[in-house]
Symmetry: C2
Amino acid sequence: MEVVASILLDIFFIYAVAVIADELMERIHQPPVIGELLAGVLIGPYALGLLGMPSAGLAELFHSETAAREALNIVYSVLAELGLVILLFFVGLDTRLSSLLRVGGRSAITAVAGIILPFVLGHGFLLVLGLPSIEAFFLGTAMIATSVGITARVLADLGYLRTVEARIIIGAAVLDDILGMILLAIVSGLASPSGVSALGIILLAAEATAFTGFVLLVGTHVIRRFSIHLERLHIQHAPYVVAILVTLGLATLSSFIGLAAVIGAFMAGMVFAESHEKAELERQATSVYALLVPFFFVITGSHVDWRIFLDTSLVGVALAITGLAVVGKLFGCGLGAWGMSLRSMLIVGVGMVPRGEVGLIVASIGLAANVISSEMFSIAVIVSVLTTLIAPPVLSALYGARGFATAKQAEERQELAVEREECGEEERHFPPRL
Amino acid sequence: MEVVASILLDIFFIYAVAVIADELMERIHQPPVIGELLAGVLIGPYALGLLGMPSAGLAELFHSETAAREALNIVYSVLAELGLVILLFFVGLDTRLSSLLRVGGRSAITAVAGIILPFVLGHGFLLVLGLPSIEAFFLGTAMIATSVGITARVLADLGYLRTVEARIIIGAAVLDDILGMILLAIVSGLASPSGVSALGIILLAAEATAFTGFVLLVGTHVIRRFSIHLERLHIQHAPYVVAILVTLGLATLSSFIGLAAVIGAFMAGMVFAESHEKAELERQATSVYALLVPFFFVITGSHVDWRIFLDTSLVGVALAITGLAVVGKLFGCGLGAWGMSLRSMLIVGVGMVPRGEVGLIVASIGLAANVISSEMFSIAVIVSVLTTLIAPPVLSALYGARGFATAKQAEERQELAVEREECGEEERHFPPRL
């Protein structure tokens, strides 16, 4: 009883700092996501320590402070994961399969070039610095994955998910996750004594591709034909409840086959984007979004140990690698928007800059297997944090040429886009002005 | 990573059985809440054991199966608590202070008579059976508290929260929680060597009353005058986000002063029931309701060890006490609707029948202090389970004289009631027919 009450206090506290951070960021015309991440760093265990401290009752329950802290972390991780799942479901709801396929080639170029260029730059730079080639390989690999959560959140908050650039980015981010999973399998093999199994990796790639392809092609087809029958269910709010169920199911399934849970959630959103009740579903998902999504960003922020930025011997190298990581994505991914305006190329490039947890997982595997040093691991963390913090404000500025749009304009823009689509109008390259 | 994935699977599984149970119950014209509770019993650790079993990764993380199970339980409890908080926020949103005050006298009679009569009947019966007077006192006390969650859920699902009977029940349930807290302090004192402190109990009662009164009177006043200014906030979905924040805050506060968290959530709902955006808030809360509320009922069900019902030596006494518990509430609480129709009296009486966790907490304190036997504790559990399962179908039947209304009719009725209220129409004693 007392244990749950103390966790309820934490939940209130996380939500409160998120709301305050959002409001501050909106007032200085910056993306709310940055406020939530920084608020998380501030209240996290490495700074003020207001989050992640188990109550006396919890410590007593586990007879150990460490175990209690672990239990608390699991509660936070579950909340964060639910937030991320809902975010990607929401993004998927705004993504039609047809429009994703139309930019499929561009997304593929963005994903692949956005992996090769940062890897070559990072790997080359570290070899020049004199690192052993396996360490340079691991760090190069840690530099390539894109975190879809950050960019998706910024685009959703701006109400620009339906622009062509957003579709290229989202498509590329999904491909990136599949490629990232394969690379993860390769580096795990490199770090283990048994080595890399080519057959295993081919099977993994085939499995991921088959899963994604099957869900998207068959799922959207089934929903288009049968979603009208969901009304026949006797439960209240039938289409919405079924959509949530499918989202949780596909998220679980996709994490069990080795992809990120959010990929499944995104696909569930895309499947229901084809349903007759899409507009209503979007309205319903918005309330859950506003409740759960902030938990992901505040809790992610709380995991950052800001003290590594104080280590001056590391920061120089880290800044150089961050620069290469940004430049690599900017040019590599910008290629995906070749032939479009310079602004579109920049949007796609910047949208792919945030590095995600995949990079940190790669670095952790290397650290655990003793093939990378703890200094190099800290550098990977710095690259991840900096790229994540750089992208949102730049992306906002690129979209809103006359300054960052207000939240209310974004809300209206989103509604306008839904209405436009309902009336069969084509989506636009350039954001519609209000 | 793997740990969170396995919990995500549990979450999917809980939601899936809830949706299936809801659909089955709607088809046989029974309240969904019963389906969710029974589904919880079925998949819980005491039956099929599909829920509450930690994954290998979780057990490894804690170096102990028991600690891992405890951690998993905490995750479930937090989810369940969030569900209950959202349910009571939703109920509060549908409760105007003015209409609650109008039935205030009836609620007070319902609460007080509904405590005295079951206590006298239960205590007397157990004394006749030859139990020591302290044991009879503890069990009598365990029989008196009402669980607001069950009845609130049934009324919300039926779309009848705005009827006079519903308001009497809800008001009485809140008073019951305050009285229950005071009784809990008394029995805790009886079970401890230091005894009962009269001053402490008076302070506790004053604190709870002051908290409730202050929030309701000042909060509703502030919201009526200032809710229009919430639009000035820069964050997206401002009134809704602030309402969620206040709900989490009051829920936490109320659990810290010793009341149930749901009382705070209910009051937050009542405060925002006075806001200008009430109808919109209700629409937004519905989506969160459909996502989170089922977790409370499935998880609550999973805590029930159904095997105690196999102990034939206990079941006879338990059934007799359950009968007295039902009769006590029916006559005691029915008094609150004195002068109204027989049906109204029955609705109020039956609505107060479900016994809640307060009863079980009283019994646990007695068990821990060795003043009640484990047999008597099992009897308290049986009474709690049976009264919880009896009330919903009877209540549904009483409301829908021509059979249980379908979920879709309930949805429409709820919308109709909102529109009626917006147009300034008076609420009715008898449910409006569709």
